[in-house]
């Protein structure tokens, strides 16, 4: 199975599993329960979140071999890899925790919103910063490419 097929299958399977799980973990979601267009739009949102979660898991599962070969520090490479996964995986818990927090009393609501905003929104801002640094290091500071010699190319082909 090719890489593209593996990614698509993993995304679809994870999304298919987490879609029904949503109703078990977060049974009361006002975006899925309303009348008129609300539940249709709510289910559209949920489908998007589940697909993003699946894509994030697929990225975690199949992206790492390329990360290990990057010409940046292993710490930055791993942080960027986790950052991309966070941008995709976080929406499913994030949106449903917002729905959950909205049901709390005023004091808990304020603290709940602050916690969610710091963890998810702040986390995504940090991920954005890490990715900006990653792209800067790879695209601006990366060493200039030296064409591989025939012997090196032969070695690469043999190794692969």
């Amino acid at each position: 199975m090719g890489m593209r097929a593996k990614v698509l299958v993993t995304t679809a399977v994870v999304a298919a599993v987490c879609f029904p799980m949503t109703f078990v973990i977060w049974p009361a979601d006002r975006l899925l329960e309303g009348s008129g267009l609300v539940p249709i739009l709510g289910y559209g949102l949920l489908a998007g979140e589940c697909l993003a979660l699946g894509a994030g898991v697929a990225f975690l599962a199949f992206g790492y071999p390329a990360v290990r070969r990057l010409p940046v520090s292993p710490r930055l490479a791993t942080a960027s890899y986790i950052g991309i996964a966070f941008l995709l995986i976080s929406w499913w818990p994030h949106d449903h925790l917002h729905q959950l927090v909205e049901r709390l009393d005023f004091q808990s609501l304020i603290w709940g919103i602050a916690a969610l905003e710091y963890f998810f929104h702040g986390g995504m801002m940090v991920c954005g910063g890490i990715l900006a640094l990653f792209f800067y290091r790879v695209l601006i500071e990366a060493p200039v490419r030296v064409p591989a010699s025939p012997a090196e190319r032969l070695q690469e082909v043999t190794a692969s």
Partner: protein, 161 residues
């Protein structure tokens, strides 16, 4: 300003926009009134002000990135549509929090469901799409950079996503 390096121009523009954006957000999105008899705990106020500062910093960085960032991404040598989408996604990931969080606060307080759905679609779904684009761009850049790397590592699969 013309003698400054791009890095300094980036920082100055980001700081200026970030600084202006905090009072501007209070003007455009006035904080919702508290329920009668409720008082905001001081620690919560500090946490909310901290969020405002983060949002302002992200907005400033995003606009600076819009001004100076494309030249950097162009160096990745990826197809132009993917490069433009990645550029827009990175900027959106930084710029969106200022209107996004403020609209959540203003509309969340009203309890209306359609405005909430509009925010979810306009921000959350577009950010999810941006995440997918960035994952693809990141993967392509990784493959390209890894093939340039002198490190001896296990070979990559040949097929791209």
């Amino acid at each position: 300003m013309s003698n400054l390096s791009t890095r300094w121009k980036f920082v100055i523009l980001a700081t200026a926009i970030g600084t202006v954006s905090v009072p501007l957000s209070l003007l455009i999105f006035p904080p919702p009134k508290l329920p009668p008899g409720m008082v905001l705990p001081p620690a919560a106020l500090v946490a909310l002000i901290g969020l405002k500062l983060l949002e302002g910093a992200a907005l400033g960085t995003g606009i600076s990135f819009l001004v100076f960032g494309y030249a950097v991404l162009k160096r990745a040598g990826q197809p132009k549509p993917l490069t433009v989408l990645a550029y827009a996604s990175i900027a959106w990931y930084l710029v969106n929090w200022w209107p996004h969080d403020n609209l959540h606060f203003v509309l969340g307080a009203s309890g209306a469901i359609y405005p909430l759905l509009a925010v979810e679609y306009a921000f959350h779904q577009t950010l999810i799409a941006g995440g997918v684009i960035l994952a693809l761009f990141f993967y392509q850049v990784m493959r390209q950079a890894a093939s340039r790397s002198p490190r001896s590592r296990p070979p990559l699969e040949k097929e791209s996503i």
